[in-house]
Amino acid sequence: MDVATFLIQCLNALQYGLLLFLVASGLTLIFGIMGVINLAHGSFYMIGAYMAYALAPLAQAWGGGFFTALLLGVVLSVALGYVLEWAFFSFLYEREHLQQVLMTYGLILVFEELRSLLLGDDVHGVQPPEWLSGSIALGDVMSYPVYRLFVSAVCVAVALAMWAVMTRTRLGMRIRAGASNRDMVRAMGVNIRLLYRIVFAVGVALAALAGMIAAPVSSVYPGMGGSVLIICFVVVVIGGIGSIKGALVAALLVGLVDTFGKVLVPSVAGLSVYLLMAVMLLWKPEGLFKAG
């Protein structure tokens, strides 16, 4: 592997890792704060990707374009999360993990079939907007797709925004407090139900946003939610459940291992992240970072 390939793969690993972080952070946020294990989280990623596919021509027709579609998608997914929390997840807070697993598994089946009914079972490619397509030269011999850099940039921006909200705002303070002591926060007069609903909607939007911006890179296909969900589990297990920082570190690690696994040992590439998980479990069964 020469230096140029190595650098390009590093950028790919970074982009994939950051994208995983976006999905996994929603998963771990929802678990860490509400104690709900949500198998349907991968479906939100899938819904995002299909929204990118479905909204693109619509946005074009309105003369809006890429950012309009993205914004519309985020608004729709926040709304979806808000409604789902109200309709299904609010019943799950007091239930056992097993029942949460089952109900969210049922939701996966429903989402998959609704997707199949509404948009079919074909694999679709999604074009990046014109001003983000093409490559830029890095040095003399290398070039790198602009769109992938854009994906990384969006992820970094969202991560920074999340960090700022969690540590610098009153909402973030309440969320953190609600995670560690629900009853105390309620006693202080905070509307915990509303708080949960917001967190859940944000979690859904994070996954959907990841799906939307990933669509031009990875195309849009049935079953994409499931594969992302399992990788996110690996990320969350390695990072420590409920820890956003852990999710970031673990996602970058998984991105690195997966990307270089595919390049160096293609025959067992699918296994590399699971081997990583096994090693991490031997070393730190509770994950890299304790929740908080």
Binding site: F31, I37, F88, F91, R95, H97, L98, Q99, V101, L102, M103, Y105, G106, L107, I108, L109, V110, E112, E113, L114, S116, L117, G226, I230, F233, V234, V236, V237, I241, S267, V268, A269, G270, L271, Y274, M277, A278, L281, L282, P285, E286, G287
Partner: protein
């Protein structure tokens, strides 16, 4: 065990097995095939019931052991003749057990949600082995052309190529599994499982080393799942990676919840109910072209079920009673 066989609670179970024994004589082939499928899934569900219902370990990767059992017999059978049953059956069960020792040793270092996610992830790893490599024919799967043969010298007590013989072999395996678990759960070990489920902390304080019990339950459960997979490969004569997929792990989890957690009968009842529901939703006669989207109905049913009937079918049929 003697207490169980003689108790009135055993009567419906004995009756059910009697009815199952008579089915091939009275029903057309399609229904006998369906009954065989249900019995195999009942073994699969019982294997998970041991883990989830009796020991309190929520495993979301049970399909991996099922699939390993199914793939092992298929891969070990030569193309031109049936393999010796006396060696492929132990080999299949051992393969499932070995994978369970590794996965169990790693995932039992954690608990709760971690355990759920890790068992799922490791099952997915096994799925990728069969899906992405040429080992088992990739995503297309492979055929089992000849069923294993049991020969003692020149004498062949039964021939699994005959549908009736295969049916009764499955029937006997289900009874064997049920009796094994019933005896085990009545024993000291079974009490220890129940104690771990109720309060592991207290079990440790009482001087039990809980880890070997949990690993033991995990491995035995995998062996039984492997047995179910083995029989499944014999029945269909074909395996593909989908039997290791997490949808299959989810399905068996639904079976035991559907039937009622904490009861061996519940697991069998759940396998029956789940398979019949699936047949119903897939039936073009009932749902027409919408039958293609049967998973939508299944999903909605699961959601409604979790919301409305957390105690399962057994809880609906009768109140009280422990396992059995």
């Amino acid at each position: 065990m003697h207490t169980f066989i003689l108790s009135p609670r055993a009567l419906p179970v004995l009756l059910a097995f009697g009815v199952l024994a008579l089915l091939p004589a009275v029903l057309p082939g399609f229904y006998v095939e369906l009954a065989m499928k249900i019995m195999i899934l009942a073994i699969f569900a019982l294997s998970l019931e041991l883990l989830v219902g009796q020991t309190g370990l929520i495993c979301f990767g049970q399909a991996a052991f099922f699939g390993i059992g199914a793939y092992t017999v298929t891969l070990l059978s030569p193309e031109g003749e049936g393999a010796a049953l006396g060696w492929v059956l132990p080999a299949s069960l051992t393969a499932a057990a070995l994978y369970a020792v590794v996965v169990g040793a790693l995932s039992l270092r954690t608990k709760g949600v971690y355990f759920i996610m890790i068992t799922l992830a490791f099952a997915q790893m096994a799925y990728f082995v069969f899906h992405d490599t040429a080992l088992g024919g990739g995503s297309d799967g492979i055929y089992l052309y000849f069923r294993p043969v049991l020969k003692l010298g020149a004498w062949q007590p039964f021939d699994l190529d005959k549908p009736q013989h295969l049916y009764y072999a499955v029937w006997a395996c289900l009874i064997g599994t049920l009796v094994l678990l019933a005896v085990l759960l009545e024993s000291r070990t079974g009490r220890a499982f129940a104690g771990i489920k109720a309060n592991e902390q207290r079990m440790r304080a009482a001087g039990y080393s809980t880890y070997p019990y949990k690993l033991g339950a995990f491995v035995l459960s995998a062996v039984l799942a492997g047995l179910a997979g083995f029989l499944y490969a014999l029945k269909d004569g074909f395996v593909n990676p989908e039997i290791l997929s997490w949808h299959h792990s989810g399905a068996v989890l639904i079976m035991i919840i559907l039937g009622g957690l904490g009861h061996l009968r519940g697991a069998m009842l759940g396998a029956l109910a789940f398979t019949l529901l699936q047949e119903l939703f897939q039936s073009q006669a009932v749902f027409g072209s919408f039958a293609k989207h049967w998973q939508l109905m299944l999903g909605l049913t699961i959601i409604a079920f979790v919301a409305l009937m957390p105690r399962g079918l057994v809880g609906l049929l009768q109140r009280g009673g422990r396992h059995g």
